[in-house]
């Protein structure tokens, strides 16, 4: 299936300064009418919405669909609220709200059994929308010798479903092309994060977040062009290093903190690494473009990937991975957050804080919600936390 010819996000191209480009990107990210999805559909393109955390977007891209990352939204769940009970995280409700309010029109929805709440989402979505709602069962036994071959076949099954939506067959070469595009994207994002680690004064946490996250809203070739343009501009920035502590932010793997929260953190800390939208950066190396593409993607998911509280892998104890992230980023401290009512995040906080205590690494524990609007208390606490470390 041919991709729509016209770019869906062009506003940034009229600008040459980093500040202006970032401003356009931020506007897009905060636009709850999702103009890029509408523009894509207006050209006859089909959209595959995929819920957090990781989804092999290459499959949708190879089929000519727009892979749209569903990450909740800071809005009131007017339609979705009555479909859920109490004691749930916000992202579930607001994600469904996007569909029920027709803010986002999809041709297919895919979710994953990442947590007890989210694994209900496909059934709920399917009971309320006519298009296909699939669960992609990524292996929860990553240590089984059979996991890779199972996942290859699971990807094949999903590809068959996607082909039914698009009405076209996806060849291996289509997948290889897609892998090439996404390899480039991953490489560009690694460069972005390298800047955060080495010269964090050139790129604040909220700016990096905006640049990363809009990848889930636009076709990857467009995202690649954007990143290719801004990376040199960021590197050429003239900001000077300030007296701020270097921290790792943990807890943004699913529900997303408001931008304002990230800005608040950025006022006192350099966030030198994080797990924000980790699904878009899940694969940590280039995926081979020769051989069986589905096997390559499956192998990469299992053996060349990041970590999150929603994946169990005996090779990747989460607290060890966090300590490695802190070490690799040369961070002074960690901000350990969890979305309200997020069980995996809240459970992991205990292991993280024990490990950090053991290593005598300072940490700041907090909870957030995508809809929160008050940050004053957090700001006071963060300021105190940062000062304690700096003047210790």
């Amino acid at each position: 299936m041919p991709l729509p010819a016209r770019a869906v996000f062009t506003d940034w191209q009229a600008h040459s300064s980093l500040e202006s480009i970032l401003s356009e990107c931020k506007s897009l990210l905060e636009d709850m009418t999702f103009p890029t999805v509408r523009a894509w559909r207006a050209q006859g393109g089909k959209v595959l919405g995929h819920f957090q955390v990781y989804f092999p977007e290459e499959l949708a891209f190879a089929a000519g669909m727009l892979p749209f990352k569903i990450r909740g939204a800071p809005l009131e769940a007017r339609h979705a609220d009555s479909h859920f009970g109490s004691y749930l995280c916000s992202i579930l409700k607001t994600s469904l709200e996007l569909a029920l309010s027709d803010r986002v029109l999809l041709d297919m929805f895919v979710s994953h059994p990442i947590c007890d709440a989210a694994r209900n989402l496909a059934a709920i979505w399917g009971r309320n929308r006519d298009y296909g709602c699939q669960i992609l069962y990524l292996p929860q036994n990553a240590n089984s010798t059979h996991a890779s071959s199972y996942l290859h076949n699971e990807y094949r099954r999903l590809l068959d479903e996607i082909e039914q939506v698009t009405g076209s067959t996806i060849a291996d070469d289509d997948l290889r092309t897609a892998i090439t595009v996404f390899n480039e994207n991953r490489s560009l994002l690694r460069r972005l994060y390298a800047i955060k680690r080495t010269t964090p004064w050139l790129l604040s946490v909220d700016q990096a977040y905006v640049l990363t996250t809009i990848g889930g809203l636009i076709p990857r070739p467009e995202h690649n062009r954007l990143l290719q343009t801004v990376l040199p501009l960021i590197a050429a920035g003239e900001s000077k290093s300030k007296d701020k502590i270097r921290v790792v932010f943990e807890g943004g793997f699913c529900e997303q903190p408001p931008l304002e929260l990230l800005q608040t953190i950025g006022r006192y800390c350099y966030v030198v690494d994080d797990d924000l939208m980790i699904g878009l950066r899940w694969l940590t190396e280039d995926v081979p473009t020769t051989g069986d593409p589905l096997s390559n993607l499956a192998e990469a998911y299992l053996n060349a990937s990041a970590y999150s509280p929603v994946q169990h892998d005996a090779r990747k104890p989460k607290e060890h991975m966090l300590l490695a992230r802190i070490r690799d980023a040369d961070a002074d401290a960690a901000i350990i957050t969890a979305a309200k009512m997020c069980e995996p995040g809240l459970e992991e906080q205990v292991a993280y804080t024990f490990a950090l205590n053991q290593q005598r690494i300072p940490f700041f524990v907090s909870e957030f919600e995508e809809n929160m609007t008050s940050f004053e208390q957090l700001e006071i606490q963060l300021e105190t936390f940062a000062e304690n470390i700096m003047f210790d």
Binding site: S82, H83, F84, G85, S86, Y87, L88, L92, P113, I114, C115, D116, A117, R119, N120, L121, A122, A123, I124, G126, R127, N128, G132, C133, Q134, I135, L136, Y137, P139, Q140, N141, N143, S144, T145, H146, A147, Y150, N153, E154, R157, P309, V310, H312, A314, P317, K318, E319, A338, K340, M341, E343, P344, L346, E347, E348, Q349, V350, A351, T353, F354
Partner: protein, 432 residues
């Protein structure tokens, strides 16, 4: 044998024998705790009792231990300890009660619980995985996640023989073989396939009788209460799965229920309302919660809990003893998948029950502690209401945490529900 003697011998036997077996099981655990032998921590949805029993590894069900603290009204002490340790009030209460139990070196109101030497869990509930990671950290034990892929699409299902089913089954079979290897390493025993056949044979007998017992509750009046009696049966079903005691228990339970059914001996003397329970029981006030319904002569004739908390044993998958491993993988896949479906597609389960159980209403009981079961209930209720005209009640509380159980509020809602049922019945009789 006179009828009176039969009534004396039979009626209530399942509950008495179930309680005895449960005590015996706990005594065995105490012995394991004392001697320091192997103990596998497992869960009700996919315990892999078939394999563990083949290796004679005692099983501990932390879910059952935790709910027992709630029934015995001491759960709050355990929850407070775990929260003091660092766990959030907003996570699963079972997990927290178990954390406190581990911190107490296994001291439980029913006795001493042994420390785990291995944890075996499925992905039927994601919290199982997070929970096992706690033991992994506390005790540095192996945690075996048996990944059982579930239903992918609300509109279609794979079946034995389909390529996608076979992909899932082969994955499960490969993992079962890996579990066997792990058990061999742990115990130093060689895997005995004939012993597995024997265990599977007991599981077959238990499954068959369990399904029949559930079916017998179609009788009017119903022969057991799915909420209260059902919880006893579930305890035996899980802890004695694959054993001669377990299969014998369920065959004798079937005998009791057949008798009650034939003699029209109901669990209530004046059954007025036949209800289905969807969700997890309110254990902190278990008896009182049930009385809210029985005081109105309402009883639970079936529940999704009986389905998923037995790991899908209600489907009575029959293992083929001529090809035990392939059949075990197929049975595990089908049963655990069905258990998951009865949580995520509970509206369908209720519609299936409504076909033959002649029900008057459905009680949806989402709880704070369990998102697996509770997240989809409000939407499931909407789907049910649009599919059939069945009165339903939606009440929230918890399975462990009495801080979120409001007895007065529950009673008000339940009373209003029954008043509505009574009024509806009057209107229907006036029309006919």
């Amino acid at each position: 044998m006179t009828q009176l003697q039969t009534v004396e011998n039979l009626v209530g036997r399942g509950n008495t024998e179930g309680a005895d077996l449960f005590r015996a099981w706990f005594t065995e655990l105490e012995q394991t705790a004392a001697t320091g032998g192997h103990a596998a921590y497992v869960f009700v949805m996919g315990s892999m009792a078939e394999i563990l029993r083949t290796f004679e590894i005692p099983m501990v069900f932390p879910e059952i231990n935790s709910l027992q603290t709630a029934i015995r009204r001491v759960a709050h002490q355990f929850l407070n300890e775990a929260e003091d340790y660092g766990y959030s009030p907003d996570i699963c209460g079972y997990v927290k009660a178990d954390v406190a139990l581990q911190l107490r070196q296994g001291d439980h109101p029913m006795g001493k619980v042994p420390r785990p030497t291995v944890a075996v869990l499925t992905n039927a509930c994601n919290t199982y995985v997070k929970w096992a990671e706690i033991w992994e950290r506390m005790y540095q034990i192996p945690c075996f996640v048996l990944d059982v892929p579930g239903t992918r699409d609300i509109r279609s299902q794979s079946h034995p023989g389909d390529p996608s089913f076979e992909n899932d089954r082969l994955y499960v079979e490969a993992q079962i073989k890996e579990l066997i290897n792990l058990c061999e390493q742990l115990t130093g025993r060689k895997f005995d396939i004939d012993r597995l056949r024997e265990v599977l044979g007991h599981a077959n007998r238990m499954n068959k009788a369990w399904q029949r017992v559930i079916d017998l509750n179609r009788t009017q009046p119903s022969v057991f209460n799915a909420l209260t009696d059902g919880t006893i049966y579930l305890g035996v079903s899980n802890s004695f799965r694959g054993s001669s005691e377990g299969s014998r228990y369920f065959e004798r339970l079937q005998e009791e229920m057949e008798y009650k059914s034939s003699q029209r001996i109901g669990t209530l003397t004046n059954e007025q309302y036949r209800l289905v329970f969807v969700g997890v029981p309110c254990y902190p006030i278990f008896r009182r919660f049930n009385e809210f319904f029985t005081e109105w002569n309402g009883t639970f004739v079936n529940s999704t809990y009986l389905w998923f908390a037995s790991g899908g044993a209600n489907r009575a998958f029959e293992y083929d003893l001529t090809r035990p491993l392939a059949s075990l993988s197929e049975g595990t896949l089908l049963s655990v998948r069905d258990a998951m479906d009865s949580m995520f597609h509970q509206d369908r389960a209720v519609l299936e029950i409504a076909e033959t159980f002649n029900i008057d209403g459905v009680v949806f009981h989402p709880i704070k502690s369990c998102r697996t079961v509770s997240t989809g209930l409000a939407d499931g209720r909407r789907a049910l209401m649009s599919a059939r005209d069945i009165p339903s009640l939606f009440i929230e509380s918890d399975m462990m945490d009495r801080r979120v159980v409001s007895e007065a509020q529950l009673k008000n809602r339940i009373d209003a529900f029954f008043e509505g049922l009574a009024s509806r019945r009057l209107q229907q009789s006036a029309k006919s």
